[in-house]
Each structure stands twice: as structure tokens, then as C-alpha cells.
Amino acid sequence: MPDDQHVFARVPLLPVPVYAGFPSPGEDYTEPPLNVHDLVVAHPLSTYFIRVSGHSMRGACIHAGDVIAVDRALTASHRKIVVVRVGQNLLLKRVQVQQRKIFLHTDPPELPAIELKQQHDMEIWGVVTYCIQRVR
């Protein structure tokens, strides 16, 4: 059985390469690499990812299969793309404010617009902040 002095030979290696010659002049300036999450998710506690299935928002360059980041901490406004809850369903729409009324459109506006009314069982679920799209 090895004696205890071997313990020191078994201390974990440093996670950074140690140069045998000159130490790297950049060593003190090491930064973590870029992380896409930091770019896409401003509010981690209120952001959710949702996959899009239809083409009704292609005017906003959102296509089937894309993953959108939806932030519930943001307040919707004119022209924003939002996820709306209507009853049990979630829908992807663009907000249009017209004469103090709020309408929800597809883009291009092929389907009839929905008017957002509080007394109906509907609400803005979250505001779309990013669309992650695989380029083909």
C-alpha cells in the first residue's frame, strides 16, 4: 500500500494548461466563451421556449419548426409578436392597436383578426423576443 506522501502526487490537475516555457501573456485576461443563452434570454425566470408548428407568421419570418423565446416579464405593445392564450389554446399573433382597441393578427393577415377583450377568456401570455431558426 502506498504511503501517505503519495497523496500529493494525486492532487487534481489544474484545469488550465501550464506552459513549460513562457507563461501566456493572455492568462490574466481569460473570459468565458460566448453563450447564446445570454443573448436570447434576458430574463431567465420569465422566459420559455416554444416550438412553432404553422406558417401563419411567415411575414414575421417565423416558420414551422422554429423555436421562439417568449418572455412573460415584458408588456406587449403595438406591432409586437406575442403568444396569446385563448381558453386552453396558445396562439402566435402580431399586436395591432387601433382606436384604443387591441387586435391580434396573423402575418400576413390572412385569418380574421381577433379582438383582445378582458371579459373573454383570453390574455397575452408572453412577448416573443427571439426566433431560433435553422437556416436551410
Binding site: R10, R51, V67, L90
Partner: protein
């Protein structure tokens, strides 16, 4: 929502309650109601609950630097240092933000002590007029008296069923009775524990927030199987798997265990089959957190209590005599040298790190088995919306 293995009802909506379903009842007894009223039934989706709970707790953490996370769905916030004028308004802000960020409705109960805030929680739950937010400190002493008189002694936080029974014998039936009881009498018969509860009911905080959770003194992993097991081989897989899990939790809190217990039992609901249950406790030769050593002991224990011919439904492993890591005793016969100890600790640290980064069970011990078809059933699992890319919501 169903418990592990889809066995019992553990949570239900008010609509489901109205149909006569109750918490704790076995699921299979209510197939009729569930079918005719198309009740939505789900298995426990712990990955989702854990992640959503973490979000809620972090939102709460934005409101006060001092937070005690009490359980998956309960937390205390210290507001005393924050000089808030309108506590009810503050509570409404908390509720609104949690709802906005997570979609989860919460209740906020504010009081001068933990015990009173628990009571406020019950009040706010039972009375719609509060709108889920109640500041008990705004009550007049008369209102408070009335409120405390409505809380049964069993429902006072910290009063166990035994003490409640004892207190009722002496005519202490409500929280108010306990608060106004003779202090010396309470201290004499309910010890310092009872005295603290009484003081808390009077508004003197005695139970500070446990911002940092003390290390656990016992770590248990006990689960029922997805099907009944008869053979020793399957039981060995299960016991090894549970042991690996408790060992991992043990290392998470930087501790070593000095004692290990294994237990197993047949299905108590299956009254036609013969019943058997047993437990085996082993004092380990030296405290350890090394999974292979713990598995070896657990399997030895299992083999000692295993009897052929029974249909086993549940097994479990418990670690106790837990000590913090630095106190390593090299044993008299030199079986663990310091070198050996470091080698084991390093190996476990690497296994834990890989499982943390690449997901649970990336590295397992071969005795834990591969197929593990005895694992718990979650046949009505909802999607893990926030933790798996292939399970996110589609619209």
C-alpha cells in the same frame, strides 16, 4: 396528480375535489368517476415541478435577500429589514410578479412570526375576500383574537398530534387558548418547544429563518417498483440504484455516513398474497461516502433479509450517523489509508461531475442494471416543458 408509481392521488384541483376525489386515495378505486367526468390525470413530473419551483423561489428572492425555502412550494421571506410601508401592497406585488413570470398562483401571508404567518396562510386560503394576500400585522388585537380562536390546536404549526391530544385534555382547543395559557405550565409540560410556539403566537419571533439548510441527519431513498419483484437479481439492481442515489445526496452535503439500513416489503394492499417486511441495519466499519463500499454493504444487508417466494413491492436504503466530511478517522487496522480515502473521493467527485453535466445516470455502477424494468411507472406523464428540448411546448 398521482404519486410515484401512479399509486395515489397527491394533488387535485377544486373541480376534482367537488367530484368527491380526495388526496391520498388510491387512484385505481376511482376509475369510474375519472372516466365519466373526463378528469385529467397526470403522473408526477418532478423535473418540471423542480424547475418551476426554482423559478418561483428565484422570483421571491428578488423581494428579500433573506429567504428560507421550506419545501417545493413554500418559502419564507424576511421583510423586517426592508422598511415597507404597505405590506399588503407589497404582498400583492409579489403575487403578481410570480404569476406573471411563471403563471403560478401563490398565496402571500404576512405576520410577525413564522408560526403566525402559517396561521395567516390558513386564513387566506379559507377566505376568498383576501384575494390570496393577507397581512396579519394589520389586524387589530380583537380581530387577531377572533382569528386565532378559529384555528384548531392541531392546525398550529409545530404542534404534533400527540401534543394536540394532550392540550385538548386540558381544554386548550385553539391557537388562541395556547397563546393565552399559563407560560410556566406550557414550559413544564410542552418543554421549550411548546414555549417557543406560544411565544411565536404572542408575536415574539423565536424561530429564525434557516437561510442555509442544516445538513441532513438521515438520507433515505425508498420507492415502490413499477411491478412486483420476486427474484433477488432485480432487488439487487433496485437496492444498488437507491444506494447510489443516497450516496450522491450524501456527497452533495459533504458528509460521510456511519450506518446503513436496507428494507423491503411486499404489497400491503394485496391482501391475497402472503406478506413479508424486514429491515437490516449495518454499522459501517468506517464512515464513508464511497458508492461501491455502500453498495457492497447494502447488498449484504439485502441478502440477509431476502426470502424467496414473496412478491416484493418496495425497497429502500437509508443512511444515518452522518458526519461532516473533514473528520476522517483512519481505522485501527489500516484498511483506509489517507491515500485510499483521497482516491475514492476523487473518483466519486468525477462521477458526480459527469452526471451533473451530462444528466443523471450518465455513469452508473453495473450492479444498478441496464433495463431496470422494475422502475416506477409514470404512464401519464406530462411533458418536461422547461428541461428537455424535445418536449417543449408546440403551438
Amino acid at each position: 396528480m398521482l404519486s410515484n408509481n401512479d399509486g395515489c392521488i397527491v394533488a387535485l384541483s377544486s373541480e376534482a375535489k367537488k367530484l368527491g376525489l380526495k388526496r391520498g386515495q388510491p387512484f385505481f378505486k376511482h376509475q369510474e368517476i375519472i372516466r365519466t367526468h373526463s378528469v385529467q390525470v397526470y403522473s408526477s413530473n418532478y423535473s418540471l415541478y423542480q424547475e418551476m419551483s426554482a423559478r418561483v423561489m428565484k422570483v421571491l428572492g428578488q423581494f428579500s435577500p433573506k429567504i428560507e425555502i421550506y419545501s417545493i412550494d413554500e418559502a419564507w421571506l424576511e421583510l423586517a429589514d426592508l422598511a415597507i410601508d404597505d405590506l399588503t401592497e407589497f404582498g400583492r406585488t409579489i403575487k403578481a410578479r410570480v404569476l406573471q413570470y411563471t403563471g403560478i398562483p401563490v398565496r402571500v401571508a404576512i405576520a410577525s412570526t413564522k408560526c403566525l404567518s402559517k396561521i395567516a396562510c390558513e386564513l387566506v386560503k379559507d377566505d376568498q375576500q383576501y384575494g390570496d394576500v393577507l397581512d396579519l400585522t394589520a389586524f387589530t388585537s380583537q380581530q387577531l383574537d377572533e382569528a386565532l380562536a378559529r384555528v384548531a390546536i392541531e392546525d398550529v404549526w409545530g404542534v404534533g398530534p400527540k401534543y394536540a391530544c394532550f392540550l385538548r385534555n386540558y381544554g386548550i382547543d385553539t391557537a388562541r387558548d395556547l397563546r393565552d395559557a399559563d407560560e410556566r405550565w406550557i414550559r413544564k409540560y410542552l418543554t421549550v418547544v411548546g414555549a417557543r410556539i406560544q411565544a411565536e403566537l404572542k408575536g415574539t419571533a423565536c424561530l429564525p429563518l434557516e437561510v442555509k439548510r442544516p445538513p441532513r441527519q438521515q438520507i433515505i431513498c425508498a420507492k415502490s417498483f413499477g411491478r412486483e419483484i420476486t427474484g433477488l437479481a432485480d432487488l439487487e439492481e433496485a437496492v444498488s440504484t437507491y444506494t447510489a442515489r443516497v450516496a450522491e445526496k450524501l456527497r452533495e452535503q459533504d458528509s460521510l455516513a456511519g450506518r446503513l439500513s436496507v428494507f423491503l416489503r411486499t404489497n400491503a394492499f394485496d391482501t391475497d398474497s402472503e406478506q413479508y417486511a424486514n429491515e437490516f441495519t449495518i454499522d459501517l466499519p468506517h464512515p464513508t461516502a464511497f458508492t461501491p463500499a455502500l453498495i457492497r454493504q447494502a447488498l449484504a444487508g439485502l441478502r440477509a433479509i431476502y426470502r424467496e417466494g414473496y412478491r416484493y413491492k418496495k425497497a429502500g436504503v437509508a443512511l444515518s450517523k452522518i458526519t461532516p466530511l473533514p473528520v476522517v478517522q483512519t481505522d485501527l487496522f489500516g484498511e483506509v489509508s489517507l491515500y485510499e480515502h483521497y482516491r475514492q473521493a476523487r473518483l466519486m467527485a468525477i462521477v458526480d461531475a459527469i452526471n451533473r453535466v451530462f444528466g443523471r445516470d450518465t455513469l452508473v455502477f453495473a450492479v444498478q442494471g441496464i433495463a431496470r424494468d422494475w422502475r416506477m411507472r409514470q404512464s401519464m406523464l406530462s411533458q418536461r416543458f422547461t428541461t428537455r428540448w424535445d418536449e417543449i411546448l408546440t403551438i
